[in-house]
């Protein structure tokens, strides 16, 4: 019980800490991509910048507009933060720790519907934005909130469909068994390149990150759903976005990049157990696995920021086009290919073959039935 509490506390602390430093790294990466150096005043290399930012937000006036719905206005950011923090509960951060003979999983709760839990909680997350935008009593906030809601619903479909292919491969909804089924270099990304691509694009949309940051598109909607927010309420909204980014990076790493698996992990854990004995060796191997997992998460967080400073925002109709006419049909095709591959018994080969055939067919179609591009 105490240990469970400690793990939950640890995971909370880690996801908050990572989200804090995401704000710093977002600014540094943005600066680097724009040939600047970024924040470097607060502490060495500016590493105290997030604390300075948080301090500033705490001391700002906590303002509620007169015509706003006061309780919903407060509820919005609280809900956004709550749902963002709840998702990390089911992510398996590592294998297990052996402590006084009992095996403790490095995971807050191991439920057999893990990925459904993530989906359920993430789709609740849009309520935070929607309630905040509605309660602000401001047309720009409402526009932002409506955009967020419709965007999240549209992209959740494609996301869910691309996920079904993964579930078909691991035949389990539990995140831990999905990770364990990828043991030994059998990462899902090798089997599901198309599924990974769809999931990645959808996760950008789910996190409201550029190129899909329409809910807060600052040059059209002032600041979108958080136009009327200030002080730490705004801070919570922004912070929940960063926590969501961390969570979705973790989910991508779990589903497609083998979670805490890394090449040669059996050899490493075998050597460690031989060197330090069963218990310590196992715990050390778990630690290395956890570190690998965080490395993967860090890469995906970097990827999110990298994309943010590369791509411009989609137009709203382009966003809907891509979601409904592009990603959902592709996800369905992916399910069919995966189903065929699973039935054939040669999953890897048939997956790639099916994908190649699909691309060839689409290419042939576009070659035959669309006007050829002329060179000017």
């Amino acid at each position: 019980m105490v240990i469970k509490g400690l793990i939950i506390f640890g995971i909370f602390a880690i996801s908050l800490g990572i989200a804090t430093y995401e704000t710093y790294f977002e600014r540094v990466i943005a600066a680097f991509i724009q040939d600047r150096v970024g924040p470097d005043r607060a502490g060495p290399f500016g590493i105290l910048q997030p604390i300075a930012d948080a301090g500033k937000l705490f001391f700002k006036e906590d303002f509620i507009p007169t015509l706003a719905d006061k309780w919903l206005f407060i509820l919005g950011p609280a809900l956004a933060m709550l749902t963002a923090m709840m998702t990390s509960a089911v992510i398996p951060f590592g294998d297990s720790i052996i402590y006084e003979g009992t095996e403790i999983l490095v995971q807050a709760i191991e439920v057999n519907v893990g990925i459904l839990w993530v989906f359920g909680v993430v789709s609740l997350g849009v309520y935070g934005i929607l309630i905040g935008g509605w309660a602000s009593n401001n047309k720009y906030s409402l526009y932002g909130a409506i955009r967020a809601a419709s965007q999240n619903i549209s992209y959740e479909l494609a996301m869910g469909l691309s996920l079904i292919a993964v579930i078909m491969m691991s035949s389990s909804l539990s995140l831990r068994s999905i990770v364990e089924s990828q043991h030994g270099g059998n990462w899902n990304v090798f089997y599901q390149p198309l599924g990974f691509l769809i999931f990645l694009v959808c996760s950008f949309a789910e996190c409201n990150r550029t190129p899909f940051d329409l809910p807060e598109s600052e040059n059209e909607l002032v600041a979108g759903y958080h136009t009327e927010y200030g002080s730490m309420k705004l801070g919570l909204y922004l912070f929940s976005e960063y926590v969501n980014m961390f969570i979705s990076a973790a989910i991508i790493a779990t589903l497609f990049f083998g979670g805490f698996n890394y090449p040669g992990m059996d050899f490493v854990s075998g050597t460690l157990m031989g060197q330090f004995g069963e218990t310590i060796g196992h715990n050390l191997a778990t630690l290395i696995g956890t570190l690998t997992f965080f490395l993967k998460i860090a890469f995906f967080i970097f990827f999110y920021m990298w994309v943010r400073w590369t791509l411009p925002r989609f137009r709203y109709d382009q966003l809907m086009d891509l979601g409904w006419k592009g990603l959902i049909p592709l996800a369905i095709v992916n399910i069919i290919i995966t189903a065929g591959a699973e039935l054939s018994g040669h999953a890897l080969l048939v997956n790639w073959l099916g994908l190649a055939v699909f691309i060839a067919l689409v290419y042939a179609y576009s070659f035959l039935f669309t006007t050829k591009k002329q060179t000017i």
Binding site: F32, Q34, R36, D40, W306, T310, Y363, T371, K373, I376
Partner: protein, 188 residues
């Protein structure tokens, strides 16, 4: 009809399949941003690192002395007349016997004040001065003031210190160009 050499015709043909998937374009863009991520940064970290602003930068005012340490200013008032912001005011006085080492001519400025809130650093005082007495330094800014009584700079702040004389480091265009080339290349 083509009006200029720079005009480009817009390509309005339908996108090919690869273009419609956005992916090649995204990959190309990501390559560009990654290149910039590792490239040299253009930032000059200001208070620690300072850029050479050139020999004709107009900064802090200075009242020059001549080589024997005598004040050059004769309080003729031409700078005050030239000043478009009316920032300069002065009180003239007659040199008495025994002060030949302090003031070059028979008349001198007993008080010479520049109101730094009014001054627009145009350099017209510099141009108006017939005695080559007032200059705007190229190497020093007027310090930040936080209070109204710090705004008016008197002779104590303006007259040149003989132990730390001010020299402009370039007088011609050629000398200036040489100095510009000497400073470290800035990557824009």
């Amino acid at each position: 009809m083509q009006l200029t050499q720079r005009s480009k015709k817009t390509d309005k043909t339908p996108l090919t399949l690869a273009e419609k998937s956005y992916l090649p374009g995204i990959a190309k863009g990501m390559g560009i941003t990654l290149k910039h991520f590792f490239s040299k940064k253009a930032t000059i970290r200001y208070p620690e690192q300072k850029r050479y602003l050139g020999p004709i930068f107009r900064g802090h005012h200075i009242l020059k002395r001549d080589d024997e340490g005598r004040e050059r200013c004769t309080a003729c008032g031409l700078c005050a007349v030239a000043c478009p912001a009316e920032a300069i005011s002065m009180v003239a006085a007659e040199r008495v016997k025994g002060e030949e080492g302090l003031y070059r001519e028979e008349k001198y400025a007993a008080a010479y004040e520049v109101n730094m809130l009014r001054c627009i650093f145009c350099g017209l005082c510099e141009e108006a001065c017939p005695k080559e007495a007032v200059y705007l330094r190229h190497d020093k800014f007027v310090p930040v003031f936080t209070n109204r009584d710090q705004v008016i700079f008197g002779k104590d702040k303006l007259v040149e210190d003989m132990n730390n004389r001010y020299e402009r480091d370039a007088w011609t265009k050629e000398e200036m160009q040489k100095l510009w080339e000497q400073q470290k290349p800035v990557n824009y």
